[in-house]
């Protein structure tokens, strides 16, 4: 493989990693705080893509869709957390997993009902429709935008989590939510906020993925598996782990497709197994209880 191809593949992997990062951040924070493995997290990704599709169809403006669709998905997240998850916090985490599994079917079928089951392409915004030549490799501008956007989001998230009061509350909640509540924090409001925020990020990821991967109803269930693997590889509840895991899995999947087309789907599981053998708690996870 020539150097420029290698570079192009690496950038592809990076943009896929960014999508995974936006998904897995929510997944890992929701797990860390609420102790919920949100299997419906992929559904928010799908809802984001379709909300984006609808907004672009209505207004013709991708940037508006990019800003508004995640908010809409966040509102869905608030409703789900308040009505379905809250009554279950006193029960074991397993009931919540099962409930979110049921939600996958509900959301997927609703989307099929409203938009139909076929693949719908989302147009690339005109501003980014061209390609650029970087070191001999032809890269679609949109991919560069996705990578830059992901970097900005990662830095922004890091600033919020590490440097603000809200971030301190979230970190405290991930560490020990009961104790945080004991310090006088309204932890249930923080739960709702984190859940909605995670859902909105997944929705954002869906809008961004639209021009690259199109929108189709099972997209949520199929992106969930790589996102879960990212969380397992990176370490549950860790922001750093989610970033490292996303980049690793993004590259593994992209290069797997290029070099081992016959076994490309298997690569990410091999990565997961190797990481788990060496560090059962994931790259940046706390030691397992």
């Amino acid at each position: 493989m020539a150097g420029s191809d290698l570079f192009a593949q690496a950038l592809n992997g990076l943009s896929y990693g960014v999508l995974l990062f936006l998904l897995s951040v929510g997944l890992t924070l929701i797990f860390g705080m609420l102790d919920v493995v949100n299997l419906a997290h992929g559904s928010y990704y799908m809802l984001g893509a379709y909300a984006g599709l609808a907004l672009i169809a209505a207004t013709g403006n991708f940037w508006l869709a990019l800003a508004v669709a995640p908010l809409a998905v966040g509102v869905v997240g608030i409703v789900v957390e308040r009505t379905c998850l809250r009554p279950l916090y006193r029960r074991g985490p397993l009931d919540q997993v099962l409930l979110t599994f049921g939600l996958i079917y509900v959301f997927e079928d609703l989307v099929k009902w409203i938009w139909g089951g076929r693949i719908r392409s989302i147009p690339t915004p005109e501003l980014l429709a061209s390609s650029v030549n970087v070191w001999g490799a032809v890269i679609p501008s949109y991919r560069l935008f996705v990578i830059a956007f992901g970097l900005v989001m990662a830095i922004g998230l890091w600033l919020v989590i590490e440097k603000t009061r809200l971030g301190a509350i979230i970190r405290a909640g991930v560490y020990d939510s009961e104790m945080t509540a004991g310090m006088g924090i309204n932890i249930h409001r923080v739960f709702t906020l984190v859940f909605a925020f995670g859902a909105a990020l997944a929705g954002l990821s869906g809008v961004i993925a639209g021009p690259i991967q199109s929108a189709y109803p099972p997209m949520g269930a199929s992106i969930l598996i790589p996102a879960l693997i990212v969380v397992v590889v990176g370490g549950l509840g860790s922001l750093k782990g989610s970033l490292a895991g996303s980049l690793l899995i993004g590259q593994a999947e992209t290069f797997g497709k290029a070099w081992l087309p016959g076994a490309s789907m298997l690569i990410i599981y091999v990565v997961m197994a190797v990481v788990l053998l060496m560090r059962p708690q994931g790259l940046f996870g706390r030691a397992l209880k």
Partner: protein, 311 residues
């Protein structure tokens, strides 16, 4: 104590006889539904051994269903006997469970869910991309085996064959959960740390339960292949595990035979709903959500609450 036990034994015998004689009274489609219920019932019961008794909620049980199904699909065209139809799929699925279990049982709760889920998807990936396994189309034209030299191609013979295997599996699982081994599993479910402290090799017990459940899931998968005559990678999909979980929950977690009831409710509901509307998935999902929220005990739990039935 003897009265209720006799009454329940009589009820079971009547029910079994009804299932056995069903093909004489009903048309082809209802009989097929009943056969499907028996197969998924075995699968759901094997999952309940893990979930309801050992307290291990696996989202990767489809892996063993799929391994059993593919083993049968590969072997049956060449060796049309019970060895290829039942023994080999169970052994292959058991070996798969040994490997996956080795990695997964070290963690518990949600970590266990995520690991088992990922492993079952790994098998999906292998089946989907492997030409030897028919890639995404799967394997087709799988013959049914001959039992003691007799063909079971006819609906009636296949029905009897399924029923016998389902009964054997149910009785076997019933013996397992009532054995000392089963009591240790329940002890682990209640308080793992204490069982460890008392001196039980907890992980070995969990692995053994995982392998037993995997073997029976393999049998179910093989029966499914024989029932349909083909198998595709979607057997491995984690949503297959999810649907089996739903069957267990509908029936009542930790009730064993509830698995068959749950499979029955699931399959009948599916066939009923899909004959009226295309929105089967929506109804399925809502059923799941409402059950988890309002009826965690399932059918058997509701019966116990209303009629005062006891295990």
């Amino acid at each position: 104590m003897t009265g209720p036990v006799l009454a329940r034994a009589a009820a079971l015998i009547v029910l079994t006889a009804a299932v056995a004689l069903f093909p004489l009274a009903a048309g082809t489609y209802p009989v097929k539904l009943l056969q499907e219920i028996l197969i998924w019932g075995i699968f759901a019961m094997s999952l309940d051994l893990l979930m309801g008794f050992a307290g291990m909620v696996s989202f990767g049980h489809s892996a063993f269903f799929g391994i059993g199904a593919y083993t049968a699909a590969l072997l049956l065209p060449k060796f049309p006997g019970l060895l290829a139809a039942l023994v080999a799929p169970a052994v292959a699925a058991g070996l798969g469970a040994l490997v996956i279990g080795f990695f997964s049982i070290r963690v518990s709760g949600v970590y266990f869910i995520m690991l088992t889920l990922a492993f079952s998807q790994m098998f999906y990936a292998v089946a989907f991309q492997n030409a030897f396994l028919g890639a995404e189309d799967g394997l087709v034209g799988i013959p049914r085996p001959a039992v003691l030299g007799m063909s079971i191609g006819s609906t009636g013979a296949f029905h009897a064959y399924l029923l016998v295997i389902a009964i054997v599996c149910a009785l076997f699982l019933w013996r397992v959960v009532r054995s000392p081994f089963g009591h240790v599993l329940r002890g682990i479910h209640e308080n793992e740390a204490r069982m460890q402290a008392v001196g039980y090799p907890v992980n070995r017990y969990k692995l053994a339960a995982f392998v037993i459940a995997g073997m029976l899931a393999g049998v179910a998968g093989s029966l499914y292949t024989q029932f349909v005559g083909s198998i595709s990678p979607s057997a491995f999909l984690w949503t297959t595990s999810g649907e089996a979980l739903l069957m267990v929950i509908i029936g009542g977690t930790g009730t064993l035979f509830g698995g068959i009831l749950g499979a029955g409710a699931f399959i009948l509901l599916q066939s009923l709903v899909s004959s009226y509307t295309e929105r089967w998935m929506l109804i399925l999902g809502l059923t799941f959500v409402l059950l988890v929220l309002f009826a965690p005990g399932g059918i058997v739990g509701a019966l116990r609450g209303r009629v005062g039935l006891r295990a």
